[in-house]
C-alpha cells in the first residue's frame, strides 16, 4: 500500500470542503489517476471535481498516468490564474 497526501486548493478546496486528505492506494504501480479515483470515493464533494484536473506530484506538474509512491504529495490544481 502507498499513502499519498492529497492537497486541494482554491475552488477545489471549496468543492471538497477540505484542504488535505490522506489516501491509500494498493500496489507498486498506482498512478495519479488511481489516487484521483480513491479521492472521489472517499472525500465528500470530490465527485464534483473535473474528470482530468491539473495535478502536481511533489511540487511538479505531472500527467495523470504518473506513478505515485508512499509518502508522495499530490496536489490538485484548479486552472492557474497567477500574475
Amino acid at each position: 500500500m502507498a499513502q499519498v497526501t492529497v492537497r486541494f486548493f482554491a475552488r477545489y478546496a471549496e468543492l471538497t470542503g477540505c484542504e488535505t486528505a490522506d489516501v491509500l492506494v494498493s500496489g507498486n504501480s498506482a498512478t495519479v489517476q488511481d489516487v484521483l479515483e480513491r479521492v472521489r470515493e472517499t472525500v465528500p464533494g470530490a465527485r464534483n471535481l473535473p474528470a482530468r484536473p491539473l495535478a502536481a506530484l511533489n511540487l511538479r506538474q505531472v500527467k495523470l498516468d504518473a506513478r505515485v509512491s508512499d509518502g508522495d504529495e499530490l496536489a490538485l490544481l484548479p486552472p492557474l490564474s497567477g500574475g
Binding site: R7, A10, R11, E14, A56, A75, P79, L80, S81, G82
Partner: protein, 142 residues
C-alpha cells in the same frame, strides 16, 4: 528574500536585485488589479511550496537562456485592491533585447505554470474564481 509577499511590492527593491554597472538595459513588468465588473480587489492564494519552486525554476531558465541577464520576481498574495500591483518582474541585461526577452519569458511562464489562483471580489460582497480560459465560476460551495 520572499518572492511571495502579502505586502505592497517595492519595485526599487527588485531593481536593486538585478541592476549593475555592466547591465545597461532594465525592463520592468507590473501586473496590476484592474477595475471593471464592480471588481474592488482580487484575493490571491497559492500553493506556496510549489509556487516558490516554480519561480526558482523559471528564473533559472531565463538566466540560462540569457546568461548575461539578471531576473527577479515578486508575486503578492492575499487581498490586492484595484490599482495595486499583484506581480512585478525586473530583468536587467547589458542590452535591451535580452532584458525585454527575459522579462517576457518569465511573465509568460508565470501564466502557464505558477500555482496561484485569483478570486475577484465585487462591490456587492460576492466573489468569483477567475478561470483564464474565459469561464468564470461562482465562488462558494456547490
Amino acid at each position: 528574500m520572499t518572492r511571495l509577499t502579502r505586502s505592497a511590492i517595492s519595485v526599487e527593491a527588485l531593481l536593486g536585485e538585478v541592476q549593475g554597472p555592466e547591465r545597461g538595459g532594465t525592463c520592468v513588468f507590473l501586473g496590476t488589479v484592474r477595475s471593471g465588473d464592480d471588481v474592488t480587489g482580487i484575493e490571491y492564494s497559492a500553493y506556496d511550496d510549489m509556487a516558490l519552486a516554480e519561480i526558482n525554476r523559471m528564473l533559472a531558465e531565463a538566466e540560462e537562456r540569457w546568461p548575461d541577464a539578471r531576473v527577479t520576481l515578486r508575486h503578492r498574495l492575499g487581498l490586492v485592491p484595484v490599482g495595486e500591483a499583484s506581480i512585478a518582474i525586473a530583468a536587467a541585461a547589458p542590452h535591451r533585447e535580452a532584458a525585454f526577452a527575459a522579462c517576457r519569458y518569465v511573465i509568460e511562464e508565470v501564466k502557464k505554470r505558477l500555482p496561484i489562483w485569483k478570486k475577484e471580489l465585487h462591490a456587492d460582497g460576492s466573489g468569483t474564481w477567475v478561470d483564464p480560459s474565459g469561464k468564470q465560476v461562482a465562488g462558494g460551495l456547490q
